[in-house]
């Protein structure tokens, strides 16, 4: 199976949250990034995500390919949501599917850290007092 990656408008739904299943892969490790209602001790009412789309699409696909270092047969699904989201909505979905649990767990953690380090996506958070700011690094 091929990796599936992409950036889509809006929060991620059930379709993206369902991992692809294949009989040869006995382990799927998944990660969901959920919009949090607080940051730095303050209430957060919404996040707004934007990206450098052509570069982000390439980088996300490349990161998914690179995760095969954990297992040449690994299959990755990686979706990032864009635009405005409120707390409780899902902004990131990762699935790493492998024959065995070790590579699946290792790959999903690695994918998350690489995405946070390299994917050209930025979020602006709005606090409950109405002020807002770009988050730089996370």
């Amino acid at each position: 199976m091929a990796n599936v990656t992409g950036l889509v408008d809006g929060p991620l739904g059930v379709a993206q949250r369902s991992p692809p299943l294949s009989p040869g892969n006995g382990a799927v490790a998944s990660f969901l990034g959920v919009v949090r209602d607080h940051a730095k001790g303050r209430g957060v009412t919404r996040l707004h995500y934007e990206c450098y789309r052509p570069m982000a699409e390439k980088v996300l696909a490349r990161i998914a390919d690179d995760a095969r270092r954990f297992d040449p047969a690994l299959v990755v699904t990686a979706w990032h949501g864009l635009g405005t989201m409120v707390p409780g909505e899902v902004s990131l979905v990762l699935h790493a599917s492998s024959a065995h649990r070790g590579p699946a767990f290792d790959a999903v953690r690695w994918l998350l850290e690489e995405i946070k380090r390299e994917l050209p996506v930025w979020k602006r958070q709005t606090f409950d007092d109405g002020s807002d700011e770009w988050v730089h690094g996370s």
Binding site: E50, W134, H136
Partner: protein, 80 residues
């Protein structure tokens, strides 16, 4: 050459995309100086930014730009 600004760099530059005349070869120090001259409000953020040419991050040091290249400022990312 077109220059793209995202997130905080766009807010500070006041523009999402513009054309700037830049030399075909320059290093990061010179590039930052030119961008700061064009947009003084960007100056404080520039040391934290990386640069992408035609959608690929350029390592620190000298970079080569050709006519038609697209340069993007990449402030620290915050996806996830």
């Amino acid at each position: 050459m077109s220059v793209l600004y995202f997130a905080a760099t766009r807010d500070l530059a006041g523009v999402a995309e513009e054309r700037l005349d830049l030399p075909a070869e320059l290093d990061h120090v010179e590039l930052r100086a030119r961008l700061a001259a064009a947009h003084p409000r960007l100056a404080a953020l520039l040391p934290t930014c990386r640069f992408a040419v035609d959608e690929e991050i350029v390592p620190p040091g000298a970079m080569r730009l050709r006519d038609g290249s697209c340069l993007a400022l990449i402030p620290p990312v915050s996806g996830g």
